[in-house]
Symmetry: C2
Subunit: 357 residues, 2 copies
């Protein structure tokens, strides 16, 4: 090997080594740079991850707080809704009120309406002894926002009408009106809840709200004491210790099948639907309306279901609103409806309101 | 240079190059491995990040849904609470009811209580003409859950008492009782809301709920028509087109300073506090109780603030509950309270309940 060749060889070898080392070195630098950037990326991602985890924790905490809050509020809302739903499932009470125009009618109906409007599932049927519908009951039902109510106007036949001077027991009252309400129920409410009940409630009696609780569980006929009626402090069924009705305390015509007042009982609607002929009548003796109707429904004393803690409580009173002592002039003006707008508002609905109905 | 030295040199150089290359290569492998693991870490972190972002998005969506739901429910709850709060800020109505035992008392008080209990911020003061407190009013207030009420028993002096057979106008009624209520208010409610009003409401009148809205904006004395009173269909102030009271339609003693019924007005409580001597009296002529009391408060006709749409509406009726036609035996038994538990429940509170009060 000559020196020149050797030098040439060494130069080539050096160049190879140099490039080799250079490329390895460059590769290392690249790789080191890439590693640094990867490490930076890892660091960035780790920071991002930690940030996301913190945010997640916050969100989860927030969610948890909201869940608790929502649960709390929802329980309140649910309770309210449940109460309303529970009330919605209560049997309907059809409260039939026969009424007739007189100076105190608006006062009495207003007071009764305000008593009934908060009773759940109460369907108020007002049947007025009138030739044609009058604005008063409709305006009252609308003003008090009755959820369910119906108004019927039907006139008592001429020969069965009483004069203002007649004693109120001279002729049976509300016969045509109660029958019209029964007819309405048989036609329009026959398919409903088997627990629905029908009650006849005059517009000037007093109804303790607890009476309506007693009406929700009646299979055939519920019965209870009535305060201040028939000359007695209380007219009541007599209940044996086994819970059955064994008599009545009425001392007026005690031989009647049911010697009780119209306010003393409520009947399951299905009985009324099943006995389409049962009704009130002008052709029965005084005091026999209740007995005539109840026997027409096929009921006997054995069917009576004593309510109001086995007839030991009074939840209804047969009160009467006194006839107002109007001057003769005012009485005639009321009869002729020759009244000022204000006076009309006292006994009826004032002209404007009425025409808006 | 000899060959041996050259070979030695080349061997050393080769070794150096070899180790150099080897270490570079190892370094590269290490670095490459570290880069791979870093890349894996980056990949893992990126997956984790994506997962966290998804979870975050879910949580944020969930949060948003809950926020909407909560907002919705809170609006409902807020409205209810606001309604209650608004009601809480209404001026208080002190409704003073003088009452006295009679067979119809429980019925009348029950009906009135059921009318009043849903009126917001109404403070019912029952003042009974009795020697000592009777269980009936307290049991009624408790049963109906009255939020604010007070019961006073104070007896009318012997010589001022009427017999059951006396006409109800023979002697002034409720004088001592109304004064006791005024005294109670002056002692216990003097510092309250300047808009509070005082109203005298008998237990057998009819109160349309709208009457109570009229009582919330009274500076001195609010006045309105009363239905069926004094022989008239309506007893009313006469209001000029400028809104001031220029007269009255009463035709009984129209010369009275205030020819109006007790049910026709409500007074700002502060007037009653400022005039501690103003009260009712046995020493005034029949029909002058209202005038005596109102002039005692320093009021003149110019102070009257006509309410109920400038006295064009009737929101209260002076009805009366008819005295029950009890048999003579039952009437005596009621007077002597020689009654069965059921009868006691009709006119009072039955023994057991009373003793639990």
């Amino acid at each position: 090997m000559n020196d020149a060749a050797m030098i040439k060889f060494l130069a080539i070898l050096s160049a190879i080594i140099f490039f080799n080392v250079f490329f390895f070195w460059r590769g290392n630098i690249d790789m080191s740079e890439s590693r640094t950037s990867l490490e930076a990326e890892v660091f960035r991602l780790e920071r991002k991850r930690d940030e996301l985890i913190r945010r997640n924790t916050d969100l989860e905490r927030q969610n948890h707080r909201m869940e608790l809050k929502l649960e709390h509020v929802e329980i309140q809302v649910r309770d309210l809704a449940q109460a309303r739903k529970d009330r919605k499932h209560l049997p309907t009470i059809y409260f039939i009120t026969p009424t007739k125009f007189r100076p105190e009618q608006k006062a009495d109906l207003t007071r009764l309406g305000q008593t009934l409007v908060h009773i759940p599932n109460l369907f108020w049927i007002i049947v007025e002894d009138a030739d044609e519908p009058s604005p008063l009951p409709r305006a009252l039902l609308k003003r008090l926002n009755f959820a369910s109510a119906y108004y019927i106007a039907v006139r008592t036949p001429e020969k069965m009408r009483m004069d203002a001077s007649d004693p109120n027991w001279k002729l049976p009252r509300g016969v045509i009106q109660r029958n019209a309400a029964l007819q309405y129920l048989r036609t329009n409410h026959r398919g409903l809840n088997k627990k629905s009940v029908v009650y006849f409630g005059d517009d000037d009696n007093v109804y303790d709200w607890r009476l309506f609780d007693e009406m929700r569980r009646i299979d055939k006929i519920g019965i209870w004491p009535v305060g201040i009626v028939g000359g007695l402090v209380v007219e009541t069924p007599i209940v044996a210790s086994n819970g059955s009705v064994i008599g009545f305390n009425s001392n007026w015509k005690p031989e009647r099948p049911f010697p009780i007042d119209m306010a003393a009982f409520a009947i399951n609607l299905s009985l009324i639907v099943q006995h389409p002929e049962a009704q009130f009548s002008f052709d029965v003796s005084r005091g026999y309306q209740e007995s005539h109707f109840l026997t027409g429904l096929g009921l006997t004393r054995q069917d009576l279901e004593p309510k109001a803690e086995f007839c030991s409580k009074v939840y209804v009173w047969h009160t009467r609103t006194e006839n107002s002592k109007l001057t003769r002039l005012d009485r005639r003006r009321v009869e002729e409806m020759a009244l000022s707008d204000l006076e009309k508002d006292a006994v009826n609905e004032a002209g404007n309101e009425a025409s808006n109905e």
